[in-house]
């Protein structure tokens, strides 16, 4: 499926979705509240079948967070990037670990490093940091005088 | 002809001339004790070095080559290091059992040495139930291993000990049955009788196919009984770090290590005695000329040669095969080896009754 078809199909599922131009893959920005429903539809709608979640990450834009989900279909070989803007003070988004199992670890990683809380996640704990670690290391305002080396 | 038998006899005669009979027994006991301990130490050193050299050869390495000529003193250096090390006892361990276990294991290994015939007329104790004694005493070593695993208060040790318990108890059956099938042929449990019965040929040649089957089963079973790869589940380095002796260090660890190698020597010696004629040279029926030539090789060399060939075979297994899983290990014993060896025993009995063997 080419970019235009994919764009049309997703507009059909979620009319409020806005698309980015000039990106390598179809990139859609959505409201975090709509993510859970959309995710289920992306995974199961015929013709979309985005079954392979290969990257989950977050970017700290100092004013807000952007969650990114890189999805691809092992059947149709099209790729979709979903972006969701989160409030920086209360970053909350629904988990998709029940749709793509790999998200369980990836979301724990994002929680650990950014402090984004995933509602409905079965086991939301620190993954890399110790359990009593304070702060969220990959946020831009994170300071650690001992462990961080400024170059 | 120069032989160990003559030496022992001349010592015995000399002692009888100079001392009264009670003293003779005492002095001879001391000599035997010292020789047994020396043999232990030497066996440990030689076998560890041999294992390291064999494994190095199979793994395209050189092996130890720094201490002494060709690395021959490497194990001495290692033993010294282990002896100097602090023997730690973990805090939560059952101290009494923890410290007792290695001595129990090594004590059992020492006891089994008694009835083994090292050369013609060179045997510590020619007991009339020799083979029964060996299989009875050797099963005691599992108690030492269970004790070590349990008392360490370590989960890996516990798992290793339980595995070892299940394994040794099961494999003892087929080892016992294959020994039994040879007893059926010899008609005696006395080691010297068993060796003498192979005067005109070793049992592995005389006993037809059932003897070969017994031999194969015996080798498999004793490899498992001594916890050697591919049956080294009790230690299972990649699974249980070191299994039942995870918590041991220093000399106590060295004792386990030594016991392992002495056990290998003992089981191979038993295998050599039962199937390959012990110290008996290679005799073929009534080929007197051939038999005479063979007699010129000293009996101790024959015995050691056979034993060390079997030891090499076990080392070869260890450095070639992957490890079995615990359920596969028990399946192999209970579903395959045990029925086969039972049937084999029947077959052997038939052969013995009908006199079909040579």
């Amino acid at each position: 499926m080419n970019k235009e078809d994919l764009q049309q199909k997703i507009t059909g599922l979620l009319p409020s979705a806005s698309f980015e131009e000039a990106s390598e893959w179809t990139t859609v920005t959505i409201d975090p509240a709509a993510w859970k429903d959309l995710a289920g539809q992306l995974r199961h709608t015929d013709g979309l079948d985005l079954d392979y979640l290969f990257c989950v990450t977050c970017v700290d834009w100092k004013t807000h967070f952007t969650m990114l989900y890189h999805l691809t279909s092992t059947i149709h070989r099209h790729t979709l990037v979903v972006k969701a803007k989160l409030d920086r003070n209360h970053p909350v988004i629904a988990t998709v670990s029940d749709i793509w199992r790999t998200a369980e670890f990836h979301e724990r990683e994002v929680y650990d490093l950014f402090g984004v809380s995933f509602t409905g996640h079965p086991d939301l704990r620190r993954l890399f940091m110790t359990d009593d670690w304070e702060g969220w290391p990959l946020r831009k305002d994170y300071e650690d005088p001992i462990n961080m080396i400024k170059l | 002809m120069f032989s160990i038998e003559n030496i022992t006899h001349s010592i015995d005669a000399w002692l009888n001339q100079t001392l009264n009979p009670t003293m003779v027994v005492l002095v001879e006991s001391v000599i035997v004790g010292i020789s047994a301990i020396t043999l232990f130490a030497v066996l440990g050193l030689v076998l560890v070095l041999m294992e390291r050299k064999v494994s190095a050869y199979m793994q395209i390495r050189l092996g130890p080559n720094r201490v002494g000529p060709g690395g021959s003193l490497q194990t001495v250096a290692d033993t010294l290091k282990l002896a100097m090390k602090e023997g730690l006892t973990p805090d939560g361990a059952d101290k009494f059992l923890f410290n007792l276990a290695p001595y129990l294991v090594i004590g059992v290994a020492m006891l089994i040495l008694a009835p083994i015939a090292f050369a013609k007329g060179f045997q510590i104790w020619d007991i009339n139930i020799g083979v029964l004694y060996i299989s009875a005493v050797s099963s005691l070593s599992v108690i030492g291993i269970l004790m070590a695993g349990w008392a360490s208060n370590n989960k890996y040790s516990l798992l290793g000990a339980m595995r070892s318990g299940a394994q040794i108890v099961s494999y003892e059956l087929s080892a016992g049955l294959s020994i039994l099938s040879m007893i059926v042929l010899t008609g005696s449990l006395r080691i010297s009788d068993i060796v003498a019965s192979q005067q005109d040929g070793w049992w592995i040649f005389k006993g037809h196919i059932p003897a070969i089957i017994s031999f194969v089963i015996f080798i498999i079973a004793v490899t498992a009984e001594t916890n050697r790869a591919p049956f080294d589940l009790a230690e299972a380095e990649s699974e249980l770090t070191a299994g039942f002796h995870t918590e041991y260090s220093g000399m106590k660890f060295a004792l386990f290590f030594l016991a392992e190698y002495v056990n290998i020597f003992i089981v191979c010696a038993i295998g050599a005695t039962l199937f390959l004629g012990g110290w008996m040279p290679l005799h073929i029926g009534h080929w007197t000329a051939f038999n005479h030539v063979m007699d010129y090789i000293p009996s101790s060399l024959w015995f050691m040669g056979k034993t060390f060939s079997l030891i090499f075979l076990m080392m070869w297994f260890r450095w070639t095969f992957p490890r079995l899983r615990i359920d596969q290990l028990l399946n192999l014993e209970w579903k395959y080896l045990l029925p086969i060896s039972m049937f084999n025993l029947l077959l052997m009995t038939l052969i013995a009754i009908k006199g079909w063997h040579f």
Partner: protein, 371 residues
């Protein structure tokens, strides 16, 4: 004594496998819940070697950050560097000279071979055969020597730069690589004799750690782990980069989904890598080995994602640039991380020995998971 051994209410035994354990190949910590010898649950605890490379890269220039990635998956450091270089080139729209492209692919495939050799030895060691490890290292040594001659290093080569490779190939490279191919082909047959066809090895591997087609996709598995379950996911085939599109090679796909299938896929991959090297070794084009680039690289504002196939699976580099000298945010999608998440699913109901075998066939490299 029994009370002192910590058990849960149901009478399960909880064992900490790692962080120091002979078969975790690094500092992986698995908390396994056992019922006797049977595994009820495996819970990976990560972070013992977490260095936050992503944060580190935010303060490094586009030329510098590539070399930090060598320290992630140290066994396929070339391919990691390659992925990063590709991403920077994508942002700057640099056209890499044909010679550099071929050199990069050659180096990638040699790295893949070296990585698979180490995996083969380590995995055999996990199932209890100690000898193959040394045999694998003999062959790996030849690759390391080739690498050393050209790149100056044996493990973290740091040979890729944005726009090409750092220096030209050593004059001996072609001769030695050809010698190596001939040598290694004969040794591959030995590998099969020693391990692949061994009865004990087969029984340890077959039917163990089954991962279905759907689960492999759902868990985001990639590389040989996913291919053994029948998922076609070779980035070299699906999204060809450099000269992979012009080469003829096969993507080995397994059907079993068990440990033996994963083993078989990797063994096939080694043969495919050899054939790729053979196709290229005599056809290295003449010319520049590096494109002309500015001294200070500044990526335009935007987001760039590149994917490469490492020895373990799909390695992704995601760069967010604000137009400055350093990346605003970098995310590395490491194959081991996703593959590890399927471990619990695969190991449940098996024995401890199987867990070790499964970990062996997953080919986990811990710094790659922890980053």
């Amino acid at each position: 004594m029994l009370e002192e051994i910590s058990t849960t209410e149901q009478g399960d035994l909880v064992v900490n496998l790692g962080p120091q354990h002979p078969s975790t190949h690094g500092v992986l910590h698995l908390v396994i819940t056992l019922n006797g010898e049977t595994i009820k649950k495996v819970e990976p605890h990560l972070g013992y070697i977490h260095r936050s490379i992503e944060k580190m890269c935010e303060s490094l220039s586009y030329r510098q950050f590539i070399y930090v990635t060598s320290r992630m998956d140290y066994l396929s450091s070339h391919i990691n560097n390659h992925g990063c270089a590709l991403c920077v080139e994508k942002g700057l729209q640099i056209e890499v000279p044909p010679r550099a492209k071929v050199i990069r692919v050659l180096m990638d495939e040699l790295t893949r071979l070296a990585s698979h050799q180490l995996w083969w030895g380590a995995m055999a060691m996990d199932v209890g055969a100690l000898t193959p490890f040394f045999h694998a290292f003999r062959e790996r040594e030849a690759i390391n020597d080739i690498m050393e001659e050209t790149c100056g290093a044996r493990l973290t080569m740091n040979y890729m730069v944005p726009g090409g490779v750092m220096i030209d190939l050593h004059p001996n490279f072609q001769r030695r690589t050809k010698e190596f191919i001939a040598f290694f082909r004969s040794k591959l047959a030995e590998y099969d004799e020693l391990v692949t066809d061994n009865v004990i090895f087969k029984s340890r591997m077959e039917g163990v750690g089954y991962l279905s087609y759907a689960d492999a996709i759902s868990y985001g598995c990639s590389g040989p782990t996913a291919r053994a379950s029948g998922v076609s996911c070779d980035i070299r085939k699906l999204y060809p980069y450099e000269v992979y599109g012009d080469l003829s090679f096969e993507e080995p796909i397994g059907t079993g989904g068990d440990c033996y299938a994963r083993y078989g896929v990797r063994m096939q991959e080694m043969r495919q890598s050899l054939s790729i090297i053979e196709q290229l070794i005599d056809n290295i084009p003449e010319g520049e080995f590096q494109a002309k680039t500015k001294a200070v690289l500044k990526l335009p504002k935007g987001e760039f994602y590149s994917r490469v196939e490492t020895a373990r699976g799909e390695f992704g580099v995601y760069i967010v640039s604000e137009g400055g000298m350093t990346p605003y945010r970098i995310k590395f999608r490491s194959p081991g991380f996703s593959n590890l998440s399927a471990l619990d699913h695969m190991a449940r109901g098996h024995k401890i020995g199987d867990l070790v075998a499964i970990m062996g066939t997953l080919d986990l490299v811990i710094p790659d998971i922890d980053r």
